[in-house]
């Protein structure tokens, strides 16, 4: 019946900030919300967890939280960012709610159940000057409402009290009808869009071609509200006499159970799935360049605080950078790159060669440094460029008003990166400037002094600082499971002189790892795909589960307790002390 699939589902004024609107089109329900950055989200109205309506959820302006079990979904992407029942784990990025297109035009919010070409213009309406009427919901099918609208009578804006105007039909198309009222020299165009809510429910959304101010505006709105209410009563009376059509039953694509459960490593190898453009490059601190990366088309995947991406550089190298954005800032990823004096090329390539407007290939975000959002207090301790994952995490907790402190160790003021983001943290931020190693250790001892149960600490910085912090935390009684480290790189010398056998339990193959080769290389050489990122034992991406045998850990990703337990191994650098390792692969 309509030439295009777009329908209004709300008025713009129905979406104040921090409100979740309950919409519906052809039986399919929507949770509709405007994020603090203005983006209008139109989502399937069901939490992927238990099907609870998201329209009763809470918008914090960046994420929408389901009312029942607290699953959180990100602005724009609708990807799940946090599952309270698994506070220590990063949800799989594949847990993503269904989204629908959204367009704001003529004071209305439009959506479509299918991929659609651009929303067509409506003749006679100008976004800059119009008046949106109060939406009129009816318990009647859209077709019946449209039929009655053909006989709708109203007065031009400036002739509400004049003698009854002449009304003519200007256009009628699909689910809309345009009427013009004339009285003397006055005339007004009214375009009515009828939103098909369900088989026997609809909403009349009217827009007049001219705005008005003050009392006149109010009088016009009341005039139409009265007449549309009367029309509604007539339509509903007629509808009540019709045999009731059964409600439309939309098909909900069910979510695979594994998606609603635990995280999985979905990316394989070192793929650069996404092309981004450097939208902005600037010096955010002395020797630290900020890069704002925007997608060429479509949306960027959901990221979680603590996540990193692989950046594939023009010189062929692959480097990892943490995403610094606050929750919900999903229109770009911002990374910070420090110029390293002894750079093997990665950072200097980004600093010197890559310019605004250039294209870069990046991987999907991975989160091997997941943030709990249930700690009684969280300490973030950053050394230098180690600020990047922690600033994303600190912004997330700060936005949720959860207690946290960010301690930022740097040489001096000019070394503090992303000052505009730091400023949003207020008093949660303390910088410690110009401390030598002894003073740094003393400060760390001070910060880590009073561990209480359910506190968590996240640290990222140069390896020597992290090693000192690890020792101090242990002395002060912090359990391994409460102190989380992210290393930029593994500075340990890797000993790859051993040779051993690996048995891959699920693939039923046995392979020999000779001296000079890694487990990862041998597996790849035999056609076994394995995700990886830094390939130096720092990022945690290429982890495998050990079923038998004794690993020879050479990474800096696993903590001491994990290493002692011998159940996990980083396949890019670690090896075996025993003759054979059985891996769950």
């Amino acid at each position: 019946m309509s030439s295009h699939p777009w329908h209004p589902i709300a008025a713009s004024h129905d979406l104040p900030f921090r409100h979740v609107f309950h919409g519906q089109l052809f039986g399919r329900e929507f949770a509709v919300w405007r994020a603090d950055d203005g983006y209008v989200n139109v989502w399937e109205n069901r939490c992927l967890h238990r099907g609870v309506r998201l329209s009763i959820g809470v918008s914090d302006g960046r994420e929408l939280k389901c009312q029942y079990h607290g699953w959180r979904y990100s602005n724009r992407t609708a990807g799940c960012t946090y599952i309270p029942a698994h506070p220590a784990d990063a949800p799989a990025r594949t847990i993503t709610n269904r989204t629908f297109p959204a367009e704001e035009r003529y004071g209305l919010v439009w959506s479509s159940l299918e991929e659609a070409a651009a929303l067509p213009r409506v003749a006679g309406l100008d976004d800059a000057n119009l008046l949106v009427l109060r939406g009129m919901p009816l318990n009647a099918p859209a077709a019946l409402a449209l039929a009655h609208l053909a006989d709708y009578r109203f007065q031009p804006n400036n002739a509400i009290d004049s003698k009854e105007a002449l009304v003519s039909i200007e256009a009628a198309e699909g689910f809309s009808i345009a009427l013009r009222a004339r009285s003397g020299s006055q005339e007004t165009l009214a375009v009515f869009f009828v939103q098909p809510v369900d088989s026997s429910r609809s909403v009349i959304r009217g827009v007049l071609d001219r705005n008005a101010e003050g009392m006149v505006r109010n009088t016009i709105l009341r005039h139409h509200n009265e007449r549309l209410s009367a029309l509604r009563d007539r339509v509903e009376r007629e509808a009540a006499a019709l045999p009731a059509a059964p409600p439309i039953e939309p098909v909900y694509e069910s979510v695979a159970p594994e998606l609603a459960e635990m995280p999985s490593l979905s990316a394989s190898g070192r793929r650069a799935a996404i092309t981004v453009q450097v939208a902005r490059k600037w010096m955010t601190a002395n020797d630290i360049a900020g890069f704002e990366l925007r997608p060429i088309r479509g949306l960027l995947p959901t990221f979680q605080p603590g996540a990193h991406i692989d950046v594939h550089l023009p010189n062929g190298q692959i480097r990892q950078y943490s995403i610094t954005n606050a929750p919900g800032e999903t229109d770009s990823y911002t990374i910070g790159v420090k110029r390293e004096r002894d750079s093997k090329g990665g950072s200097s390539c980004l600093h010197e060669t890559v310019r605004e407007g250039d294209l870069l290939a990046i991987s999907e975000p991975r989160n091997n440094f997941p943030l709990r959002r249930d700690a009684v207090k969280t300490l973030f301790i950053a050394g230098g460029i180690g600020i990047t994952p922690l600033i994303a995490m600190a912004q997330a907790l700060s936005h949720m008003s959860l207690l946290s402190e960010l301690h930022y160790f740097a040489q001096d003021e000019t070394q503090l990166a992303f000052p505009e983001r730091l400023a949003t943290l207020g008093r949660a931020l303390t910088s410690h400037l110009g401390l030598n190693p002894q003073a740094t250790a003393a400060k760390l001892a001070e910060l880590l002094v009073d561990y209480r149960p359910d506190m968590h600490a996240y640290l990222c910085g140069p390896a020597p600082m992290l090693e000192v912090a690890r020792r101090i935390a242990a002395e002060k009684g912090w359990p391994d499971a409460s102190v989380h480290f992210e290393y930029f790189k593994n500075t340990k010398a890797i000993d790859d002189s051993s040779s051993f056998e690996i048995a891959l339990a699920r693939s039923a193959v046995t392979l020999r790892v000779p001296a000079g080769s890694t487990i990862l290389e041998v597996m790849r050489g035999n056609g076994i795909d394995m995700p990886s990122s830094c390939e130096q034992g720092a990022c945690g991406t290429c982890v495998a589960t050990v079923l038998e045998g004794e690993p020879d850990h050479q990474d800096v990703y696993l903590n001491d307790a994990e290493k002692r337990s011998g159940t996990k191994i980083m396949t890019c650098v670690s090896r075996a002390c025993s003759a054979r390792l059985v891996l769950d692969l």
């Binding site: 900030f17 309950h22 809470v58």
Partner: protein, 215 residues
């Protein structure tokens, strides 16, 4: 000290807990086994309220029934700001009274449907639901036009009054009686505003709102 004869799942009792929390008034609760015990029909409670209904309060010997009447009393007596029931503003008092009566209409319809669905009361639930929808249409229209002139609350004031408290619970609990609020977007937005009043508390079936946007 105020004693509230209370049933936790009653929206009418919750109104009073809500206002007392907002006003910071201390009170004691006497739980009444409304369901399944029907204790509100016991001789002891009939002596306090011959209508056999909750809520009832006893404020140092002053015994009052009817949620709306008690809201009037609490606000007039304990609200230092004078905003919740502005005693020297006749027009506003008239308006408040009008919406207090409306709130009782919401109890008679939306709450009745909820009692039918939740506590298996034997009544004409279709009539109760239709009645609630009729009232919700009126309230939604009223709130929508209010917003057009910058008015956030039920009555013509730049602050909430006890009429907002009186109407709030059974509107927000309506889904428990099979009454959707999807067609009442202005009511849904007003619900968020009430939830952001400092001192707001929840009851079973009523969820908190998130913080408003700063600025």
């Amino acid at each position: 000290m105020i004693t509230l004869y209370d049933f936790e799942l009653s929206g009418n009792c919750y109104k009073l807990r809500l206002l007392m929390s907002i006003l910071g008034v201390e009170y004691k609760i006497v739980p009444v086994d409304f369901y399944p015990g029907r204790e509100h029909k016991s001789a002891t409670l009939l002596k306090l309220n011959p209508l056999g209904q909750l809520p009832i309060i006893d404020d140092d010997g002053l015994i009052l029934r009817d949620a709306q009447a008690i809201l009037v009393y609490l606000a007039a007596r304990y609200d230092a700001s004078g905003n919740w029931y502005p005693r020297d503003n006749p027009a506003l008092l008239g308006e408040i009274g009008q919406w207090l009566a409306f709130a009782d209409g919401i109890t008679a319809t939306a709450s009745a449907a909820r009692l039918h669905d939740g506590l298996f009361y034997d009544l004409d639930v279709e009539a109760a639901r239709a009645g609630a929808h009729r009232l919700f249409r009126i309230l939604d229209e009223h709130l929508w036009f209010g917003q057009q002139v910058g008015r956030d609350w039920i009555c013509a004031a730049d602050h909430p009054t006890i009429s907002d408290i009186a109407c709030f619970p059974y509107v927000l609990l309506s889904e428990e009686g099979g009454i959707s609020r999807q067609d009442y977007p202005a009511i849904r937005r007003w619900g968020d505003r009430v939830k952001r009043v400092p001192g707001f508390i929840v009851m079973s079936g009523i969820f908190p709102a998130g913080p408003a946007r700063a600025i």
